[in-house]
């Protein structure tokens, strides 16, 4: 059983890594088809340089993991790229268009949608309404058209169907009419991610989407993320769960103290002594070995 799994996921990783196959594993390396390109993005808080990214590219249609020790600046980088914070300096472009100085909602509209590490459930709205809110380009979201239901009812129906579909995958369908404020910590994470997917973004940026999510569910969701990639979505996600990173990512970027310190395929990065030293820690392998021992 484990063998099958292992090869299956390996195969998936292999195919997707196709375009990235020849790319050198070094920080700031250019990608064959970069959708997001950032240059010289910096942000300081007081004396602390939280983000200092000289150059970073994210491959279109691939799943890229962003890892790094706590406080490395991953979330701050997300905030900067998506317009939730202003950098001290820097330029970046998404899908060929510069995004520097754009406001958060404009960034989202251009197709780059993010989730939050500390979840933001819309408490006094139902789970389903949370989801529906995620859909982009709704006619009824303009005041005047909103007043005339026939103009948006059809679209609403489609969105609801899609929302229910996603909720089912995220095991939240039973809760769809509950207020989102009554969800448990993990369920909020799930909702956060599902809502972002409602927007059908070109690129989704997930900030630790699976922290606190039950492993069994995580696994099935990873399958869904892979499907999304097959449909052409680009995924950039922050994660501390190395098993997960290893399982689905095509490319891994490592940050440390605000900088990109390493890049490469999952295997190459996790073998990088610098990364092990700064991030993974020496115990990591032991525990992993422990676990496989336990299984066999």
């Amino acid at each position: 059983m484990s063998g099958e799994e292992s090869t299956a996921s390996g195969a998936v990783a292999g195919t997707a890594a196709g375009p990235l196959a020849g790319v050198a594993a070094q920080p700031g390396v250019p990608k064959p088809d970069a959708i997001l390109v950032a240059d010289g993005v910096t942000r300081s808080f007081g004396g602390l340089r939280a983000v200092d990214v000289a150059h970073l590219e994210v491959q279109r249609g691939a799943i890229t993991a962003l890892i790094g020790p706590n406080g490395a600046g991953k979330t701050t980088l997300f905030n900067l790229l998506t317009g939730f914070d202003r950098p001290d300096s820097g330029e970046w472009s998404f899908d060929g268009r510069s995004l520097a100085g754009r406001r958060a909602h404009q960034v989202a509209r251009s197709g780059m949608v993010r989730t939050f590490q500390l979840t933001k459930a819309l408490s006094r709205m139902t789970v389903l309404d949370n989801m529906r809110l995620g859909a982009m380009g709704q006619a009824g979201e303009s005041f005047w058209r909103g007043l005339i239901p026939p103009l948006w009812a059809g679209q609403e129906k489609e969105n609801t169907a899609r929302a229910m579909d996603l909720l089912r995958r995220f095991k939240l369908d039973a809760k769809c009419h509950e207020y989102a404020g009554s969800l448990s910590g993990g369920q909020r994470k799930l909702l956060e991610m599902a809502r972002a997917l409602m927007a059908q973004p070109t690129m989704v940026m997930l900030d630790e989407p699976m922290a606190g999510v039950n492993p069994a569910l995580t696994q099935s969701l990873l399958g869904h993320v892979k499907e999304l990639r097959e449909e052409g979505m680009t995924v950039l996600f922050v994660e501390h769960d190395m098993d997960m990173v290893h399982d689905i990512s095509d490319w891994v970027v490592v940050m440390g103290q605000g900088r990109v310190i390493a890049e490469g395929t999952p295997d190459s990065v996790m073998a990088d002594p610098e990364v092990i030293d700064a991030y993974l820690g020496k115990h990591h392998d032991d525990v992993a070995t422990d676990s496989s021992e336990g299984d066999s």
Binding site: L122, L133, M136, F143
Partner: protein, 334 residues
């Protein structure tokens, strides 16, 4: 003690023009606070600007009634923009204090002697002239007619104001109904809960908040018109913060974020108030209670004491308001 009399005058106020003016203002607040989570404590300011806009345009500038109505509405829109542009990016509490301050500034400027040539000063616009002639002229009810509803009666003039007032209430509620169950309303509710989250989904939060502020402000303006037309006078002190406070009370009593909440709250509020006034004044007249407790001159304060207590008790035992949903309150949204 004449209970029928007390009941009828309480009912009269629960249906009459003042209630309508408050209800319309409160419906506006429902958009702001109930749906969009904007803590607007300056609804009185919107009503005041519109009422002054109307009164000054007609009585001082001599413009036509209809044009002046538009000017009043435009005044409310401009106020919303002025307040919104700087504050809608801030935390909700700041909007509260800025709006309360703005409303007070408007009221104090209105009553100051400095501008009394235009505003008429503290007695209202009466000195600069009447402005509701065109409105009165439109009164469809025949001279000498009065609206007789069994135990309550309204004069012809009041009936006309009420016809318009109830039509406006219906109109506002219809707009609310349509707007709030549309995706537009959903975005507003989302903003109420967490604007960053909504922003991350590609909605222009600022623009939505502004739309909500303007729409609610326009409703406030309509309320202001009802106030002004019912009295043919714009008295600055009727637009004090008390007006806004009472609107909040009505909103919460009826149930925030419920379509009929503010209307029901306003009716209940004025009914209770006038019921208490009638009962206490009658009791005072009968001299059945000891004089340390109740005399004619003490019944005024006592009405408010009881009114305050009544509000408190209602809210304690029905915190979600009459129409509200209890489930919402169990969520901690601090």
């Amino acid at each position: 003690m004449d209970f029928l009399q007390i009941l009828s005058s309480a009912l009269q106020q629960a249906l009459g023009p003042t209630m309508l003016a408050y209800a319309i203002c409160a419906i506006g607040l429902n958009i702001h606070f109930g749906y969009a989570g904007l803590l607007n404590f300056g609804q009185a300011g919107f009503a005041a600007v519109a009422a002054y806009g109307l009164a000054i345009s007609v009585a001082y500038l001599g413009l036509s009634f209809w044009l002046s109505l538009l000017i009043g509405l435009a005044g409310a829109v401009v106020l919303a923009l002025l307040l919104g542009v700087p504050t809608l990016r801030l935390r909700a509490d700041y909007l509260a204090i800025v709006t309360i301050a703005a409303a007070e500034i408007i009221r104090r400027l209105g009553r100051s002697t400095t501008f009394s040539d235009y505003t008429g000063g503290s007695d209202g616009t009466r000195p600069i002239g009447s402005f509701n002639d065109s409105f009165v002229a439109l009164n469809p009810f025949p001279q000498g007619w009065s609206l007789d509803l069994g135990i309550i009666r309204f004069t012809r003039a009041d009936a006309w104001v009420m016809l318009v007032g109830w039509a406006l209430v219906a109109f506002c509620l219809l707009v609310m109904f349509l707007a709030m169950r549309s995706p537009w309303g959903r975005v507003l509710k989302g903003i109420r809960e967490d604007e960053e989250a909504v922003r991350s989904l590609g909605k222009n939060v600022f623009s939505y908040k502004m739309q909500a502020l303007v729409l609610g402000g326009l409703f406030g303006a309509l309320g202001g018109f009802v106030f002004a037309l019912a009295r043919d006078n714009v008295q600055p002190d009727t637009f004090s913060t008390e007006l806004t406070f009472y609107c909040y009370v009505m909103l919460i009593l009826g149930g925030a974020a419920r379509l009929f909440g503010p209307l029901l709250g306003a009716m209940l509020f004025w009914f209770l108030y006038n019921f208490l006034v009638g009962t206490l004044n009658d009791l005072a007249g009968l001299q059945v209670l000891p004089t340390w407790l109740l005399t004619t001159t003490k019944s005024g304060p006592l009405v408010y004491v009881l009114m305050g207590l009544g509000m408190v008790l209602l809210l304690i035992y029905r915190p979600q308001g009459i129409l509200g949903d209890k489930r919402e309150l169990s969520l901690d949204v601090r």
